[in-house]
């Protein structure tokens, strides 16, 4: 067994938790009535969701003219929001798959909720190309031949927009499978401890007959590893292909080879920021501070810092090439349009949120200060939204012909639709928190046990499991014989 450094903090804090206490803590939100705070978040979220989706209905019945797009700026908030949501949808599978392959054991506390977030964010993203079609009921011609007199006219596989369709649908469905596959043992855990009849039936159906058999685990771990191995390049491919939607065009500011790595770094950056936004709150309200520890927050803040600087490097590379290429159009976009043009405020918002402000994460004290981390995560969410807005709108609004230059501003329809996707995201996330285990119970147990010393186990003979009544949420019973400093081998 691998040794654990004494310098490294334990992955589950609070002494030497019993396995049952981990189950108790994680399923507590599923067993208790929702708190006032939950309702306080849920009601506005549902309201936004309903209004936003009603607006989508209005937009589809009226047409794309309800948006503020014009001939020059043909992509606006729609594609900005699309790319923003897809980017957010990167952290979940990155945490689950890439950190799994690198054996980063701290992922176990956060992967489940990050994966849920991924799936919801990708749903929000997928709405945009769909409604952008104007007549979305023709959307199935994305993959079926267009009927016409000469025979089937197929889609163009040389187009990055089509690659994107394949990338996003693959990413979405594989992420769903990965997420649910991880959930099966935990749903079984809940099935076995709940006393409520209806819950027992529903979770019984959803648990696929899981009984903890090692014959199942033995193949399960292999399949999980295969999924992780497939999902890791998949995560990278998705935003690479999203970036090609831009990079294969001939629009100055889009036509750059730095785009694929730049977009992937940006996606991880915004994804981790959104995970932080949600988890800083969720760990508190769900009393999971000993499982999603301050060390986890610290690690994620480091990832935000690193990816933020990669994004900063990409920004400066674009400027370098804008100058070094000698292309007037390229140089004009970066040095005149973006930095000093009519949308310069958006550009400088992006730079301050994405490049300058994350630098405070060099300081450990700030990485471990929840208020600072929360505010920073919001900054990054805003900054990354502006990044996409800047890329899309400032490249389009001043094109090759000054006579066709044009400004763009969104209408209330676009704003309401954006709020609607936010409403959907939070509604669905809050329901997830209520009805499914938000932390991977089995995986946390594995790492908690891994970090424990073999000796000092004082709970050999008592206490059968699964007493759900009166489960003390979040209260772990530290074993007095094993203070956390002793957690040095497993």
């Amino acid at each position: 067994m691998a040794a654990v450094s004494k310098l490294r903090e334990p992955l589950v804090t609070g002494g030497n938790p019993k396995l049952a206490a981990i189950t108790d803590a994680i399923v507590a939100p599923m067993e208790n009535k929702p708190s006032k705070l939950w309702w306080l978040a849920f009601i506005p979220a549902v309201t936004l969701f309903v209004t936003g989706f009603t607006t989508i209905g209005y937009q589809i019945s009226e047409g794309i003219g309800t948006w503020g797009l014009n001939k020059t700026v043909g992509w606006g908030w729609d594609i900005t929001n699309f790319v923003w949501w897809v980017g957010i949808g990167h952290a979940g599978t990155a945490i689950s798959a890439i950190l799994f392959l690198f054996r980063q054991k701290w992922r176990t506390a956060i992967n489940r909720s990050a994966e849920a977030m991924t799936i919801l964010a990708v749903i929000c993203a997928a709405i945009y190309p769909f409604i952008h079609m104007g007549r979305p009921w023709f959307g199935w011609w994305w993959f079926a031949p267009l009927p016409n007199m000469r025979g089937p006219l197929w889609v163009n596989f040389r187009s990055p927009l089509l690659w994107d369709f394949f990338a996003i649908s693959t990413y979405f469905s594989v992420s769903c499978v990965f997420w649910y596959f991880g959930l099966i043992p935990d749903i079984a855990t809940f099935r076995d401890r709940t006393n409520k009849k209806l819950k027992k039936i529903i979770y019984g159906i959803l648990s696929f007959g899981w009984n903890g058999s090692n014959r199942d685990w033995s193949h399960y771990e292999i399949v999980y590893g295969i999924l992780a191995g497939l999902a890791a390049p998949l995560v990278l491919s998705v935003h690479t292909i999203v970036s090609m939607d831009f990079a294969t065009s001939v629009i100055p500011g889009w036509h750059t080879t730095i785009f694929p790595p730049y977009f992937v770094a940006g996606a991880l950056f915004s994804g981790f920021a959104m995970v932080l936004t949600l988890l800083v709150i969720a760990r508190k309200t769900q009393k999971l501070e000993h499982i999603i520890t301050i060390g986890h927050i610290d690690n994620m803040a480091k990832v935000v810092l690193a990816t933020g600087m990669l994004v900063g490097l990409a920004y400066s590379t674009e400027f370098l090439i804008g100058w070094y290429s000698g292309s007037n159009y390229e140089g004009f976009i970066f040095f005149s349009s973006r930095m000093k043009g009519p949308y310069a405020w958006a550009y400088w918002t992006m730079i301050s949120c994405n490049v300058i402000s994350p630098q405070i994460f060099w300081i450990r004290k700030f990485r471990r200060n929840l208020t600072v981390v929360f505010i920073m995560s919001i900054f990054v969410n805003i900054g990354m939204w502006f990044e996409r807005f800047v890329i899309i709108v400032t490249s389009l609004n001043r094109d090759y012909l000054p006579s066709s230059w044009s400004m763009y501003s969104p209408t209330w329809v676009e704003m309401m639709e954006f709020l609607g996707t936010l409403g959907f995201f939070f509604t669905a996330y809050l329901l997830f928190v209520r009805f499914l285990p938000t932390v991977s119970i089995a995986e946390v147990k594995a790492v908690a046990a891994w970090a424990q010393p073999d000796a000092n186990h004082g709970h050999a003979t008592d206490a059968p499991a699964a007493g759900s009544a009166g489960a003390a949420a979040g209260v772990l019973t530290p074993s007095p014989a094993a203070p956390k400093e002793e957690a040095h081998h497993g």
Partner: protein, 192 residues
């Protein structure tokens, strides 16, 4: 204790002789000792995947990765056929399109097809692999487990022996369990 039937297959239920433990290292060592001493170990039940348990039980590594490789090849083949057929070749009779001219570019620009090669390969491998697992382990919505042992999805570790096997010796099994700190020995009924 031991069922008189020598072959458990035809009966609707079967019994398992189960020892319950509370620690990961106990289940690892008891599984190893029981296997080494030739007791008929049917299965172990754990709340999380215990690494090293397969080795302790002397089980082989899963065959599923080989199947996954085949699914990946299938996905790649699908992607190649889809793109070459729809863009140029038209090898499916009665469903002919025509080569699409886009800016006079080549009809079969294979580098442009790579993203879809990759995506469909991943799509097929991931989905069919999971489907294989679920079918092979008989896991589907509403499936009922053959055996249910209380606590193994929470904080207990169980080892199950087959009491109907010829090499089963109850006294030896009890002694072995006790040596490793068993908390409870029970007989569990399950479906055959």
């Amino acid at each position: 204790m031991a069922s008189p039937a020598a072959t458990p297959e035809p009966s609707a239920t079967r019994e398992l002789f189960v020892g319950m433990f509370t620690e990961e290292h106990q289940i690892l060592s008891v599984a190893k000792d029981a296997t080494d001493s030739g007791l008929p170990v049917e299965d172990c039940f754990t709340p999380y995947p215990v690494h090293g348990l397969d080795d302790a039980l002397g089980w082989k590594r899963s065959w599923i990765p080989y199947a996954s490789f085949a699914y990946g090849c299938f996905g790649l083949f699908l992607a190649i056929s889809l793109q070459t057929h729809t863009q140029f070749i038209d090898f499916v009779p009665f469903w002919k399109g025509w080569p699409i001219i886009i800016g006079g570019k080549p009809f079969l620009p294979w580098p442009a097809f790579i993203p879809v090669f990759f995506e469909l390969t991943v799509f097929c491998t991931a989905h069919i692999t999971v489907l294989t697992y679920l079918i092979y382990r008989k896991k589907f919505p509403g499936a009922k487990a053959k055996v249910h042992i209380d606590g193994v999805t929470d904080d207990r570790f169980a080892i199950a022996l087959d009491p109907t096997a010829d090499n089963f010796d109850e006294d030896e099994a009890r002694a072995l369990f006790a040596r490793h700190g068993v908390t409870e020995v029970l007989t569990v009924e399950g479906r055959a």
